[in-house]
């Protein structure tokens, strides 16, 4: 079948090329030096920053997305609010890259609408250490696709929380927080964990937004890899392959951590 031929040519061969290339020397022969180099400056710092940005946006986006999704879906919220939020999330989760970076420059950049507004009202964000073209700025922009993604992914699980459970808990005298602690959160937990992992991977893989926002100055792994190709510093392609390999390892580790957590979280359901 052509499908399998295509998969081999454009998926497995490139994957194999990275696996092999990461362990090849600059001229010839096998070596661990590329991979070993990843543990040194500036590569290790890039991994740290990448992981930090991904963790922060996955957690903040996950928690805030959960609250927004719950607020939009719960009983008592008008139906049109619900459909506006779910439709908009479907669109905004697809929204990223260069246009997103520009939208944040127009909002919170040095001449951005919000920056100017705050400055005119006696509060200068840059005087308080805020810089859009930095790690914080990248995190702020990433949330623009992380939040809607969380809303999209978690909505079915929230819809699965039955109203009867709340009523039953209330009838038995449970307070709001008791319902959440003993019923709501445990039921949602497997979905929340899965969604958080998805958000982590989503931010970890992102390139265009950070590239455009910081003009390629924020030190994250995809930008470091990109610099090897778009610049003229391609003295050792195997180093870029080793970095790509390293990204893969990080994602694999996340999956390995996720599986037992997921199993533990879903244990009550059996």
């Amino acid at each position: 079948m052509p499908f399998f031929a295509y998969t081999v040519a454009f998926l497995f061969l490139p994957a194999g090329a990275i696996l092999v290339g990461a362990f090849e020397g600059k001229t010839s022969g096998w070596t661990l030096s590329n991979v070993r180099l990843l543990f040194h400056h500036p590569y290790i710092d890039a991994y740290k920053t990448s992981i930090e940005i991904s963790l922060v946006t996955a957690l903040v986006g996950g928690v805030a997305g959960l609250f927004i999704a719950y607020a939009a879906l719960r009983d008592g919220t008008p139906g049109w609010v619900r459909s506006v939020f779910t439709t908009f999330s479907g669109v905004a989760a697809n929204f990223g890259g260069i246009p997103l970076a520009f939208a944040f420059i127009a909002t919170a950049g040095p001449l951005g609408i919000v920056t100017v507004f705050l400055r005119n009202h006696g509060f200068d964000p840059s005087a308080h250490g805020f810089n859009l073209f930095s790690k914080t700025g990248v995190e702020l922009a990433y949330l623009y696709f992380q939040l809607p993604l969380m809303i999209l992914v978690i909505s079915p699980a929230i819809d699965g929380l039955r109203r009867e459970w709340r009523e039953a808990a209330a009838n038995l005298g449970a307070k709001q927080w008791q319902f959440w602690w003993h019923v709501g959160l445990p039921v949602l937990m497997p979905s929340i964990l899965g969604a958080t992992i998805l958000l982590f991977g989503n931010a970890f893989a992102a390139y265009a937004t950070a590239y455009s926002l910081t003009s390629g100055t924020v030190n994250i792994v995809p930008i470091l890899i990109g610099a090897y190709y778009s610049g003229n510093v391609l003295d050792n392609p195997h180093l870029a392959q080793a970095m790509a390999f390293g990204m893969f390892v990080v994602l694999a580790v996340m999956m390995v951590l996720y599986v037992p957590l997921q199993r533990r979280a879903a244990r009550w359901a059996k």
Binding site: A64, T107, A205, M247
Partner: protein, 261 residues
């Protein structure tokens, strides 16, 4: 509605809406004086040859990607549903891989494998880039089409068609295809949105697509860039809304997560 729900919804809405409003306000400012309000930035975009050129490249790339993907996936999924249902999890797994692998990793591998391939393939967006985009489209194509095929009775339709003497190509084109039209359309709109916004692979393999043009303007012309950004939003949104309209009945929304970032 409780107070906390209102607070969360207002905060969420503000975070989503303010950047769009800010971009809109920027797009109305004059590039010379920085003052409001003028439509000159939109004029600048529309009269810019580079804009039309790059949009054309990206749009043709999207069409090529859609056609190749449909040619690969429709017969494959049809065959799997008809004859080899046990193979379905394998195909699903393979189609999901591009969803997990970051595009930046993908392009490093692709560049390595195809760097010495013929010029007509490697140096042309219609070769290298569309080949990569077909891979990016894998998950969306598979899940949309698979849902479409599951909603129809492949066996009965095929048997009816064949008992009337149709060859299997006729069956596929004249009987099956019209029945999965909305799924195919949904997959196509998703692919369109992805290709029109894809930056990573195009940038690393140095092709001048629409997102590359936007980035170039971003770096040089502040206010026209705002107009361009809004136009680009418009394209993505039109594709996504079209998707929501065609996909309403078949649950195509499950796969609405694309890779422009």
């Amino acid at each position: 509605m409780s107070l906390s729900a209102v607070v969360w919804l207002v905060l969420g809405a503000a975070y989503f809406v303010i950047p769009l409003v800010a971009t809109f306000l920027f797009s109305l400012k004059s590039n010379q004086t920085g003052k409001c309000c003028t439509a000159a930035n939109y004029g600048w975009v529309i009269h810019n040859g580079g804009f039309w050129h790059s949009v054309k490249i990206s749009f043709l790339l999207a069409l090529e990607t859609i056609v190749i993907s449909l040619l690969i996936f429709v017969p494959t999924i049809y065959w799997v549903h008809l004859k080899l249902p046990r193979l379905r999890p394998v195909i699903a797994f393979l189609a999901l891989i591009p969803f997990v692998v970051p595009p930046i990793v993908m392009v490093v591998g692709l560049l390595q494998v195809f760097k010495s391939s013929p010029h007509w393939f490697y140096a042309q967006p219609w070769g290298f880039l569309s080949a990569a985009y077909v891979i990016l489209a894998f998950p969306y194509m598979f899940f949309s089409l698979d849902a479409g095929f599951r909603a129809i009775d492949v066996h009965t339709l095929t048997e009816a068609s064949q008992s009337l003497g149709a060859r299997w190509t006729t069956t596929l084109v004249k009987v099956i295809l019209p029945n999965i039209r909305s799924a195919a359309l949904a997959a196509s709109f998703l692919t369109l949105a992805i290709v029109m916004g894809e930056f990573t692979i195009a940038n690393l393999s140095a092709f001048h697509t629409f997102p590359i043009f936007i980035q170039l303007v971003n770096e040089t012309q502040g206010f026209p860039a705002a107009a361009l950004t809004l136009l680009s939003f418009g394209i993505t949104w039109a594709a996504m809304l079209a998707l929501l309209v065609v996909g309403r009945k078949r649950g195509a929304r499950s796969a609405v997560v694309a890779g422009a970032r």
